[in-house]
Amino acid sequence: MILGVSFDTAGERAAGTFARSAEPSPIRLTAGDAPKLARATYPLLRDEQHVVAELYDITNVPVAVWIDENGRVVRPPEPAGTYDVVKHMDPATFTVPEEILKRAGQVRTTYFDAVRDWVKNGAKSRFAFSPEQVAAHVREPGDASSRGHACFALAAWLWRNGQREASKRWFDAAVEAQPDNWTFRRQKIAVADDAAIGNFAATPEFFQTAKRQVAEGKRYYDLIDMPGMPSE
C-alpha cells in the first residue's frame, strides 16, 4: 500500500487542495499538457513538523521509501522516480528542454515499473535491497543534520502557533545548519509569504541556491541506483 506524507507546515491550507481534489499541477514536468493530479485512493498524511523527514533523513520531495511486510526498509530514501530537471529549468517559465523531459519520463517509468515488480515478487525482486545493500545506501546524518532538525521543529511549532516573526529566526537557523537540505529551505520560503502558501515556492532564493549547488557539483535529486536508470 501507499502512504503519502505531506511535508507542509501550513497543513490543510497549503496541501488540502492537492489532497482533496484533482487540480492542475503548477509545474509542467512532462511533455504535453500539464498533468492532472488524480485524487489519491490511499492515505495522505499531514506532517506539519516534518517528523518523517527527521526519522528517515529525507531532505527533498518527492522521495520514497520501500518497507516490506516485516517492517524492514528494503530501499532507503531515494527520489521517487524523479530526475534532476531543476538545473535545466528556466527560472522564468519553469519549462525544461524536451530531451530532459524525455529522460525524466524514462526515469519515472523505470521507477514505477520497479515498484510493481517488488509488489509482485517481494524479496525476490531484483529491485529490493538486501540488508547489506540497504546499509550501503543509507546516509549517516551527522551533528549538523541533528541540529538542523531541532531548529526546524522549533520553527514549525512557532509558525503553527501564530508566532510567525519568531519562527523566521529558527527556519534560518535550520537552513544555516544544513544548507543543502531542501525541505528546510523550501518550507522556509513557502511560509515566509502568507499569500504564496500552497504555491510552487520557486523564488530567486530557490534558483540561486540550485545554481550554487550545480556549481559545486551537487545534484538537486540524486541518481537512483537501480537497473535501467541513467548514469547521468
Binding site: 500500500m1 501507499i2 502512504l3 503519502g4 506524507v5 505531506s6 511535508f7 507542509d8 497549503a14 496541501a15 488540502g16 492537492f18 482533496r20 495522505l44 498524511l45 499531514r46 517528523v51 518523517v52 527527521e54 526519522l55 528517515y56 533523513d57 520531495v61 518527492p62 522521495v63 520514497a64 521509501v65 520501500w66 518497507i67 516490506d68 511486510e69 516485516n70 517492517g71 524492514r72 526498509v73 532507503p76 521517487a80 540488508p131 540497504v134 546499509a135 543509507v138 546524518p141 551533528d143 543534520s145 541533528s146 541540529r147 532538525h149 531541532a150 531548529c151 521543529a153 522549533l154 511549532w157 512557532l158 519568531a166 529558527w170 523550501r186 513557502a190 500552497g198 504555491n199 510552487f200
Partner: protein, 132 residues
C-alpha cells in the same frame, strides 16, 4: 512551563531549572518513548545507563531530566526562552539499516490517525510530497 518537542511529540514540561528539563516519569514514555527502568532510561532494546555518581542529574524523585537524557544521546537541544519552547533534535546517524523502520503516527486530511506499524504485514511505499 515550557513546551518540549521530542520525536514529533509535544509535551508541557513540569519545570525548567537552569539547563535541566524535569518531567514526571509517568509522562516520559508518551513524551519521549523512553521509560525509567532499573538499568537506566530505556526505549525498546536501547537502554541509556545513568553514569555512576550522576543519578542526581538524571533523576529527582519521580522526575526525570530530559535535557540530561538528550545530552547522553548526543541529541542537540535548542530553546526559545521568550516563547517557552524547547526542541530536541534526533540522534546523529541513520536508524534505517538492520532495524525495523522507525514508526510514526500522523493524521490524514480528515483527521484520522495512521501509524506505519498498523500496516505491518503489507508492503508499504512511503511517498513524500509537498505543496511547495
Amino acid at each position: 512551563m515550557p513546551t518540549l518537542l521530542f520525536d514529533g511529540h509535544e509535551t508541557v514540561v513540569e519545570a525548567a531549572n537552569g539547563d535541566a528539563l524535569w518531567l514526571d516519569a509517568s509522562q516520559l514514555p508518551a513524551a519521549t518513548g523512553f521509560r525509567l527502568e532499573p538499568q537506566g532510561l530505556c526505549r525498546g532494546a536501547l537502554c541509556v545507563p545513568i553514569p555512576p555518581g550522576e543519578k542526581a542529574r538524571f533523576v529527582d524523585g519521580a522526575r526525570v531530566n530530559v535535557a540530561a537524557l538528550a545530552e547522553q544521546l548526543r541529541r542537540p537541544l535548542v530553546s526559545d526562552d521568550a516563547h517557552g519552547v524547547v526542541s530536541v533534535g534526533p540522534e546523529p546517524g541513520s536508524r534505517l539499516a538492520g532495524a525495523e523502520a522507525p514508526d510514526f503516527t500522523l493524521p490524514d486530511f480528515d483527521g484520522v490517525q495512521h501509524s506505519l506499524s498498523q500496516y505491518r504485514g503489507k508492503k508499504v511505499l512511503i511517498m513524500t510530497w509537498a505543496s511547495w
